[in-house]
């Protein structure tokens, strides 16, 4: 009995997922045959139908198809009739309850992953897509359409999480004793699914976002226009004092703003869109980066809260050390890109002595970054000379930086000496030869 109470929430959860995935099949007839209040009640009854089937199957050993189907039919008819009496709603209520009870009963005997395989998710989502597309042309369904959309979004979220989990477990090629996957792998996958859902959400909401942004942009533009406009604000005259539109002479129509102003307004709007898009992308990136840490912390906190020990990692038989590889941050790359753009604009200044020192430093940085990307473990505390020797010892670099180049770099970096064009050209030639 104790184990039954422990397993019932699982059966109900699985029932919720099944109902959510096949919600359109249930919901569309319900929308026409049920009253609004009964819909929610019936959905709750269905979830309990799963639990009832599961419990009955365990307690009364309903282990054959016939026994389970018989009891599902009996209970389905009784429950439906007690709720709806003799009405058209029975056409939906009876089959749906029988299905819920039957499947709940089967969950006791068969793994849910077998009972509800991967392609069922696809079928469920196709049902959502097809039904919502067709019903978007049916005005009679308009009051119920938003619920279908929300349920579709929830079904997608649930599907992505479950399919990802199943695929990770499947790819780990579990043995006979079931998959043993490190918690970190699951957390990172969940984090990536969340990031994916955020991207989907942003794209889906683009039309709305565009409207909001457009309104915001116009508000800011008008605020700026008001700020720079020295003329006092002209209040709109009361509506009743205005002459009728039909009586206005043609010449007194409000003059449209000049074309250049419209162009500037459009340009400002586009710039605004671009800035906001970059900002959103940057925030998404930052969020995706911090998400695993956040999830880890939440997981640790939850485990502590529930006094749960770390799961079966002892069975894995290994210890992991995870470290971050030294690399150039995205923001630095962006800055470098900007610098490069600026550099190309002022390429005529290349001959200046200060610029040579900067170029030597840039070259050194570039070589080092390339080596780091190839796998070299750079130690920050090493001097350029030590780094050069370390690179030689590393082996994969065939004389990446000569003594002469390092000497020149040291002078450019620490000596504040002006680097002549000849020295610059020599070092460039030497590097090209290598």
């Amino acid at each position: 009995m104790k184990s039954l109470f422990r397993d019932l929430p699982r059966a109900m959860g699985q029932g919720v997922v099944e109902c959510l995935l096949f919600f359109p099949i249930l919901y569309i007839p319900m929308a026409y045959l049920f009253s609004q209040s009964y819909m929610i009640v019936w959905l709750i009854v269905l979830i309990f139908g799963y639990a009832g089937g599961f419990a009955a199957s365990r307690l009364f050993r309903l282990n054959t198809y016939f026994k389970l189907a018989f009891w599902a039919c009996v209970i389905g008819v009784l429950v439906s009739m007690s709720l709806f009496g003799l009405s058209l709603a029975l056409f939906v209520a009876v089959p749906s309850f029988i299905t819920a009870f039957y499947r709940g009963g089967r969950m006791e005997h068969i793994s849910w992953y077998t009972l509800f395989p991967g392609h069922y998710y696809l079928i469920g989502l196709i049902a959502y897509g097809g039904s919502s597309f067709v019903l978007s042309f049916a005005p009679s369904f308009d009051p119920y359409f938003s619920i279908l959309t929300v349920a579709g979004a929830l079904a997608l979220i649930v599907t992505l999480f479950i399919v990802n989990r199943n695929s990770v477990e499947e790819q780990s090629i579990p043995g006979s004793e079931g998959p043993v996957i490190e918690r970190r792998v699951l957390q990172q996958n969940r984090g990536m699914i969340v990031a994916l859902l955020l991207i989907i959400g942003v794209i889906v909401l683009i039309p709305q976002l565009q409207q909001w942004l457009s309104a915001l942009g116009k508000m800011i533009a008008s605020w700026f226009a008001g700020l720079f406009n020295s003329t006092p604000e002209v209040h709109e005259p009361p509506r009743e004092n205005l002459p009728e539109v039909g009586n206005l002479p043609f010449s007194e129509e409000a003059a449209s703003p000049p074309a250049w102003m419209e162009f500037i307004e459009q340009l400002a709007l586009y710039v605004f869109y671009v800035i906001v898009t970059v900002l959103i992308l940057f925030l998404l990136y930052r969020f995706a980066r911090s998400l695993p840490n956040l999830l880890r912390k939440i997981s640790v906190w939850m485990n502590r809260l529930m006094s749960r020990s770390p799961n079966n990692e002892a069975l894995l038989g290994y210890v992991d050390e995870e470290t971050e590889i030294e690399h150039e941050k995205a923001i630095h790359r962006f800055k470098r890109l900007l610098n490069r753009v600026r550099g190309s604009e002022s390429s005529e200044r290349n001959g200046e002595p200060d610029h040579n020192a900067a170029r030597i430093r840039k070259l050194y940085r570039k070589i080092l970054i390339r080596k780091i990307q190839q796998g070299y473990q750079w130690n920050k505390s090493r001097t350029p000379r030590e780094t050069g020797q370390d690179l030689k010892a590393w082996g994969k670099a065939e004389e990446p930086m000569s003594e002469k180049f390092i000497h020149l770099y040291e002078q450019a970096r620490y000596g504040h000496r002006t680097i002549t064009d000849e020295e610059m050209q020599d070092s460039l030639k030497e590097l090209k030869h290598q």
Binding site: Q171, G175, V180, N189, Y318, D320
Partner: protein, 367 residues
């Protein structure tokens, strides 16, 4: 906006991520694995270290690294393994998920249960997208191996003839005396160097006494190991226990004798790993010789190239000089006996140890 729009966008995003991971998941991904030590003895624990680096901005949702090892090394987490049906190999897999610019060092606890050479071999990496719509596989070979030496049996308490081969053997006549061997004192003779005078003995006797030195000769021992588990063995040993015992015994004897400063060689009619030649290690001494013997014993396969009789016949013609021969064999019959008699006739001293199941009493037969 309807559910169809959300699902359409989701489908496109999922396809894009599938393509992205298909194209870039294994890019700038470096993987290496090595045993922490290159050699160890049977029963010792060691570490298998995997190092994986994701040197790019794109994370890797999942990555499976698979390889095959010979049976004989035991991973602590046996659920990490699939043992193939043949019982000769085991499939090892590691499962990772990598963040951008992340390095993972994974240390597996491993026990070397059986002697042998365990090569890292070919590793195949499989990765894919978040819903496993696409998968990409890359295989590459890895260098490196672990040589597991047989566990040398402690022979100090065994009644084996090797106990008698302690130190140098004194010979009656030789050209140069052994400067380290003092057998007593004698009267001073003309030509004896002054540093050879034993002053205490001189004081006791009242006449000049010098150290008496003897000439010595080293034992030259050749150990022959028969890998046939019975007389009528065809190609492979079907009862490997006594032969494995013999291999451990040979390792113990080699360790014992070479540590005493003696010289030892090894021969066997078994084949070496990936070779069609016998083990033939000439008689020599020192630590290098011991390592060579250990390694050869580690590589020894339980399949014969020649019957032990024929092998010994071949050896009889090859062996130069007189040797002390120790034969480790699971059986002895008339043919072998007559062959060993021929060794004796050639001036060699021959001793035979019959190998039986470990734990049973060992019979030592001296001929």
């Amino acid at each position: 906006m309807g559910a169809y729009w959300i699902l359409l966008v989701a489908a496109v995003v999922l396809l894009v991520q599938a393509g992205l991971f298909r194209r870039f998941a294994l890019r700038k991904l470096t993987y290496n694995r090595a045993f922490k030590v290159s050699t160890c003895f049977e029963g010792e624990s060691l570490e298998l270290i995997e190092v994986i680096e994701n040197r790019k901005l794109l994370p890797v949702p999942w990555l499976r690294v698979e390889s095959q090892f010979r049976m004989g090394i035991i991973f602590r987490g046996q659920r990490n393994l699939d043992i193939s049906e043949g019982q000769y190999n085991q499939n090892h897999k590691s499962f990772f998920s990598l963040q951008p610019w992340t390095k993972i060092v994974r240390r597996h606890d491993v026990t070397a249960a059986e002697r042998g050479v365990y090569r890292l071999g070919t590793v195949s990496m499989t990765s894919g997208d978040l819903i496993s719509y696409h998968k990409v596989v890359r295989s590459f070979p890895l260098d490196g191996k672990l040589v597991v030496y047989p566990e040398p049996l402690d022979i100090s308490e065994m009644s084996l003839p090797v106990q008698t081969w302690m130190g140098d053997m004194i010979v009656k006549r030789w050209i140069v005396e052994d400067p380290f061997l003092r057998s007593g004192t004698r009267e001073y003779l003309d030509g004896d160097p002054l540093n050879n005078i034993n002053w205490k003995a001189t004081a006791r006797s009242g006449s000049l006494q010098v150290h008496r030195r003897d000439a010595t000769a080293d034992y030259r021992i050749k150990l022959y190991l028969n890998i046939e588990d019975h007389e009528l063995m065809w190609s492979k040993a079907t009862r490997p226990e006594p032969v494995e015992y013999g291999i451990r015994l040979a390792a113990g004897i080699a360790s014992h004798l070479l540590s005493q400063g003696m010289e030892l060689g090894l021969g066997s009619n078994g084949s070496m790993e990936e070779a069609t030649e016998f083990i033939d290690i000439p008689v020599s001494g020192g630590n290098e010789q011991l390592e060579l013997i250990y390694e050869s014993l580690a590589k020894l396969e339980l399949s014969r190239i020649l019957s032990f009789h024929d092998y010994l016949e071949q050896e009889l013609h090859r062996l130069d000089g007189n040797h002390d021969i120790l034969v480790l064999s699971t059986y002895m019959n008339d043919r072998l006996q007559s062959m060993l008699d021929r060794f004796k006739e050639e001036g060699h001293r021959v001793q035979v140890t019959i190998l039986q199941e470990p734990g049973l009493k060992r019979k030592v037969a001296a001929i």
